[in-house]
Amino acid sequence: MSEHNEQAHHIVGPKVYVIIFFALLLGTGLTVWASFLELGLWNPVIALAIATGKAMLVVLFFMQVKYSTKLTKLTVFAGIFMFLTLVGMTLADYFTRAWGQW
């Protein structure tokens, strides 16, 4: 890890980008195909899981977070953590307002 930080600048090559590009197209095809299956409650779960997988590929490779400094990694993680906390707590409030009244 520290080797990356010490390097002047890590350059990600075209090979990695091409692989990620095709993985993203594959993910898009997969998520469209999955949306036409009859999976009930699992449809949104699978759609969001695939979307998150695609987003992670973009963040780690296209946005080069995998090769960036610890400070950048921490910033990205803190941003995602804060976002999930805010959304999670807001939804926990809204979804439990009628708790015990049904």
Binding site: A8, H9, I11, V12, G13, P14, Y17, V18, I20, F21, L24, L25, T28, T31, V32, S35, F36, L37, E38, L39, N43, P44, A47, L48, I50, A51, K54, A55, V58, V59, F61, F62, M63, Q64, S68, T69, L71, T72, T75, V76, A78, G79, I80, M82, F83, L86, V87, T90, L91, Y94, F95
Partner: protein, 250 residues
Amino acid sequence: MSDSPAIAHVAEDAVLDEHPSYLRHHFNSTEQQADTANFAMWLFLVTEVMFFGGLFTAYLIYRNWYYPAFVVASHQLNVGWGTANTAVLICSSFTMAMGVWCAETRRRKGLVLCLTLTFILGLVFLGIKGIEYSEKIEKHHVPGFHYSLQSFVDPASDPDIAQYHDKPLALDMARHTELYFSLYFAMTGMHALHMIIGIGILGFMIFRARAGAYTSGHVTFVENFGLYWHFVDIIWIYLFALLYLISRHQ
């Protein structure tokens, strides 16, 4: 005061080897300057996450409350156009990533080509979005603008959604489809605004790149713009899943 020896040390270095003209005097090294710019760009993107996060949260809450209306309203979106646009944006993210590589490896022609392709793909995305918006305008599915409930209280009258066999909604639930389209236009509209700003900056960058601005070692601007462009791509990946896909089968 504890870092004064370091400053003294760097000052010696600066005298010894010629530092590049783009290194600002308040940075110790080009690496430190690049890391700082990268950190700052990510802080900006985190504020963008919070901004879009509010819209996504509103969507999740209303979807949960008015679920039948959201399902039937989302059937109005064309999965074909949505998938095409997702592919277009992924291609543009790829050409942008290749553009960053070209800048890093000092390939001026490659950079201009990649930026131009990204620019064109961005315009294709907006063109497809325009086709989708015009369909909504024609069917009076724009909130607050002669909004029509026809497709939702009488789905049989709308051939576009015949394949989904939707049951007619009661009037009070059908009214909430307007909420779905409010969120649809707010979210995709805000995303499209980011695309328009990005395309504008791309135009400026193509102009500068032709003059060799980013291929002489100082690649911060291209890299940071790349981060912005990929971020906009990620927003669309989630918009596509949430607005187009997750209600196809209910």
